[in-house]
């Protein structure tokens, strides 16, 4: 049985929000390390140090939550449709990066991000062949 579109959209907003929160926590943790990775050994040390940052576990929790909602959505909706609606998280990410991480999101970056969202919406508007 197919779920109504409204619930699918609601669930995808939830999974996008969780994913954005997860990415912001992860990037924030990585920024706090300011580590330069070159080579496998450095990478392993980086991962070990990263695991010791408490915020990273928030990132993983949000990521897991997002994954479970996503798995549920996938069992109900077409892969293409689900991916298409998930495009809203690009706007969340651009906004979050600017507000939380103080990244400089310029006109070009916003423009490119919006082009991507338009592209994904275009993909979602077309029915199945």
């Amino acid at each position: 049985m197919k779920m109504s579109l409204f619930y699918i959209i609601l669930l995808i907003i939830a999974t996008s929000a969780c994913d954005t929160a997860s990415q912001l926590f992860l990037k924030n943790s990585i920024n706090s390390l300011s580590f330069n990775i070159n080579g496998i050994r450095k990478l392993l040390r980086f991962l070990l140090k990263l695991a010791l940052v408490p915020r990273v576990w928030f990132a993983l929790s949000f990521s897991t939550l997002s994954l479970f909602i996503w798995l549920f959505v996938l069992s109900k909706a077409d892969l293409n449709l689900a991916f298409s609606l998930d495009s809203m998280h690009y706007i969340f990410i651009a906004f979050g990066s600017h507000v939380v991480l103080k990244e400089r999101v310029g006109l070009k970056r916003w423009g490119g991000t919006l082009l991507i969202v338009i592209g994904i919406v275009l993909v979602s508007l077309t029915g199945r062949g």
Partner: protein, 138 residues
């Protein structure tokens, strides 16, 4: 500080991370596919759903792939801005339809290909925005 420069090396890591992510989503769709007839309205039915998914081999392959993606993704984020890395990762919107056609038997219409072109243009634009930032810092 040139920390945010997007090099060819980082770009190839991003593409690899995308291929892994595409593979992950393919595995998850495969593991969720047999349960699509289930209508989950109660906690009991949710438990049945989760149990059925846990017994699928595709779910576990997908989870290993998630872990590998996480490691690569963390390495990428140590080099570039989040607001650059995430849009460029949308490259998977080009990979996923291809995989959907080949392995899941889904169909892609002409308009969808136009949408994919938009995404490609957006990815290129975001990639170039990193250079802007470098120039903006005196």
């Amino acid at each position: 500080m040139f920390k945010n420069r997007l090099t060819l090396k980082i770009l190839s890591f991003l593409v690899f991370s995308d291929i892994l992510e595409t593979f992950t989503h393919f595995c998850f769709k495969k593991s969720a596919l047999p349960e699509s007839g289930l209508n989950i309205t109660s906690l009991h039915e949710a438990t049945v759903f989760i149990q059925a998914m846990l017994s699928s081999g595709f779910l576990w392959i997908g989870l290993v792939s998630v872990l590998a993606t996480f490691v690569i993704w963390s390495a990428i984020l140590s080099k570039i801005d989040l607001s650059v890395a995430v849009p460029i990762a949308s490259f998977s919107y080009i990979l996923v339809p291809l995989v959907s056609i080949i392995l899941l038997g889904e169909q892609i219409t002409f308009l969808r290909w136009i949408g994919i072109l938009f995404i490609l243009a957006g990815v290129i634009m975001v990639s170039l925005s990193g250079e802007d930032k470098k120039a903006a810092i005196p």
